[in-house]
């Protein structure tokens, strides 16, 4: 049994809070609400960064955090945390990091650094230190929407497992409908790379529903992010989703 998050928050002042308990990883752009489809335009958050192999392998961890926040026209926050996440396969111990965020009416910038010691019995990464650096940007201007993120993940002593991932999404809002296009790139030193283009549309229906449709063209190398190497050089995926909020 496990739960997503549950922590105590103590507000020291208007600009300083302390958290302790089980909390979500905050470093990626949509990591705090990665399971809530209604909150982003894609059917799935881009796999170059959010798939299991590309990401930190956990969404929540146990730990303590200090959060500084403030600002008026531009709001800012800085969160530093320490903690651990123990799981059956890959665990992260002695983990610490910092997430910096700035936002205003037109967008958001996030810069985060996470460092941990990985436990993965039987795997080459067992006992190695992992650093995970992310930079993300969201912007809206009139009808235009831009979401882009870059992630660099490195292991000490295991350069073959170093990866980087990036995506850029551009969308245009027409009433309740937003067509969008996304380019993703994932590179792994072992040669399992992939890049893809996705064309999609998100339509809000009524007051609590989002309908989504996407077509994706993926070019994997040496399997890319796929569990087993596809027979073709080009993989096409059509996805549809309905997100409800209540």
């Amino acid at each position: 049994m496990g739960f997503d998050w549950g922590y105590g928050r103590y507000k020291v002042s208007e600009s300083l809070s302390l958290k302790a308990g089980r909390m979500k990883y905050t470093g990626n752009l949509v990591s705090e609400y990665v399971d809530v489809g209604y909150a982003y335009p894609w059917v799935r958050p881009p796999e170059a960064i959010y798939s299991e192999d590309a990401s930190l392998s956990f969404e929540s961890f146990n730990g303590t955090a200090i959060v500084f926040s403030g600002g008026d026209d531009i709001e800012y926050s800085a969160e530093t945390y320490i903690g651990a996440e123990i799981e059956d396969t890959e665990s992260h111990k002695k983990m610490g990091g910092i997430t910096l965020r700035a936002l205003n009416d037109y967008g958001e910038v996030k810069l985060a650094y996470n460092r941990s010691t990985v436990l993965n019995p039987g795997d080459i990464t067992d006992g190695k230190n992992k650093t995970y650096l992310t930079l993300g940007l969201k912007a809206n201007w009139n009808q235009w929407l831009l979401i882009t993120e870059y992630v660099d993940s490195e292991y000490s002593d295991v350069p073959a497992n170093d990866t980087y991932g990036a995506f850029a999404t551009v969308g245009y809002k027409i009433g309740q409908t937003t067509p969008h296009i996304t380019y993703q790139k994932y590179d792994r030193k072992t040669g399992q790379n992939q890049d893809s283009w996705t064309l999609g549309v998100r339509h809000y229906l009524g007051s609590a529903m989002a309908l989504k449709l996407e077509v994706q063209d993926i070019k994997p190398e040496a399997g890319g992010l796929f569990v087993s190497q596809p027979a073709e050089n080009n993989v096409n995926i059509i996805s549809a989703a309905i997100n409800l909020i209540f």
Binding site: Y7, K24, V36, Y38, A39, A210
Partner: protein, 143 residues
């Protein structure tokens, strides 16, 4: 005779429609004993979007919404907060799931807001300008 009646009914209907559009304007109100005297539109936005939990004077604030079908709410979010319903829902989804804030409670209509404000020192809400009376203090009106 008939054409004149039709003409007058049409004119009356137009006047009725025009007046109801003009009278959709809202006022943001608080308890008359609240020491805050006015708010800028930015301050109103921060309070209703959960970014500030206090009035500028430092006192705690508790904002309250009207239900989604209310005309006052539609006017308020379209003209003051400037977020359409889907964008607002998406905003609160992100705030709730990242543990930052929760949306305000909702009440049925202008009268429900006024009744609640009368007994709530920290309360803040929005009602139609025409519903303003001595039981409330106006902190902001949409021009």
């Amino acid at each position: 005779m008939k054409p004149i009646i039709n003409y007058m009914s049409a004119a009356a209907l137009v006047l009725l429609v025009l007046s109801s559009v003009a009278n959709a304007e809202i006022a943001v109100i608080a308890n008359p004993e609240n020491s805050q005297n006015s708010l800028t539109i930015k301050q109103v936005k921060k309070i209703f979007l959960g970014k500030k939990s206090t009035f500028p004077n430092g006192e705690a604030v508790e904002p309250v919404d009207q239900i989604e079908t209310s005309a006052s709410r539609k006017f308020f979010y379209e003209n003051v907060i400037k977020k359409d319903p889907a964008t607002l829902k998406s905003y609160w989804t992100k705030m709730v799931f990242s543990g930052k804030a929760a949306p305000p409670e909702t009440m049925k209509d202008d009268n429900a807001i006024k009744t609640w404000i009368a007994s709530s020192k920290e309360g803040i809400g929005y009602i139609n300008k025409n519903a303003v009376d001595n039981s409330v203090k106006v902190l902001f009106t949409h021009q």
